[in-house]
């Protein structure tokens, strides 16, 4: 089942840390479609190589897409409106 295959932001913790230069799964992000805020560790990650599709756990909108082409990583930002450290 497809739903069994999805994981969460914990699974891309290393990739996010590589990209942003620091631990990111504890940071919170806002979905621009539904406005719900969640820690990045809680977002849904569909591990579909071609790429990873990162979706809002509340409304399923695409927050980001990560594609790795040869060894170049592209992070595409979609509905992820902002990220910040939790207060």
């Amino acid at each position: 089942m497809i739903e069994d295959r999805r994981v969460d932001g914990n699974a891309i913790g290393g990739l996010l840390a590589d990209w942003f230069g620091r631990e990111m799964t504890g940071e919170i992000g806002c979905c621009g479609e539904c406005g719900v805020v969640n820690p990045l560790g809680a977002v849904l990650v569909y591990l579909d190589a071609p790429g990873q599709v990162i979706r809002c756990p509340a409304c399923s909108s695409v927050l980001m897409v990560v594609t790795t082409i040869e060894s170049t990583v592209r992070m595409s930002f979609e509905a992820l409106r902002w990220i910040q450290s939790p207060r």
Partner: protein, 201 residues
């Protein structure tokens, strides 16, 4: 720095006959499920398929109307960009040529839309002339939702990301609009025999 770990080797995969299995692919006996999002739940009562031509003329079918169209059973090989290939898969579906009868000129390209928001694009020449179907049966049974049921596009001569699951609309026209993976860096055409995985290949 890379350190070679004693005793580790890649899993041996079956490469299969080279005239059937494109370069860089290996054979699989199961049918991997890959998806970019949750399975859309579409009831057959609500399901529809709409095809539009270059001038915007449309034809739509409900599920029962769709099942009345002439159907074909085809046996084809399929190739996923994630490197697995599956030979002799049996599908039942309606040819795109059938769907285009009674519509005007299609134009040069088609944008395929799926329930759930997925899209992909192809040249019209690659979905006509008996090269593509909207498939509703796999292996003699109704196509399962995780494999794209109620119906998916089937274009076996290109990488399988072009065979959009949960197909809902085929928009033909003269513009080539990049679909989901194509807009994220995957090859616009996707010929497995030329290993066209990424744009620039």
């Amino acid at each position: 720095m890379t350190y070679v770990t004693r005793g580790f080797r890649r899993k041996r995969e079956e490469s299969g006959p080279p005239d059937r299995v494109p370069p860089g692919q290996y054979l699989t006996s199961d049918f991997p499920v890959l998806s970019a999002g949750p399975t859309p739940r579409v009831s057959l009562d609500e399901w529809s398929l709409t095809v539009s031509d270059r001038d915007g003329e449309t034809k739509s079918w409900s599920w029962s109307e769709f099942l009345e169209l002439p159907r074909e059973t085809v046996t084809v090989d399929i190739h996923c960009v994630t490197k697995w290939s599956k030979l002799d898969t049996v599908w039942e579906g309606v040819s795109i040529d059938t769907l285009l009868t009674d519509l005007g000129e299609p134009g040069s390209h088609v944008l395929v839309r799926s329930y759930g928001g997925y899209t992909t694009n192809l040249p019209t020449a690659d979905v006509t002339g008996g090269r593509a179907w909207v498939a509703f049966g796999y292996g003699g049974q109704a196509l399962a939702p995780e494999h794209g049921g109620p119906a998916r596009l089937l274009v076996p001569h290109l990488y399988f990301w072009k065979s959009a699951k949960w197909v809902n609309a085929l928009e033909f026209g003269d513009f080539d609009r990049r679909g989901f993976w194509e807009s994220y860096g995957y090859h616009n055409y996707g010929d497995p025999w030329l290993e066209q995985r990424y744009s620039g290949d």
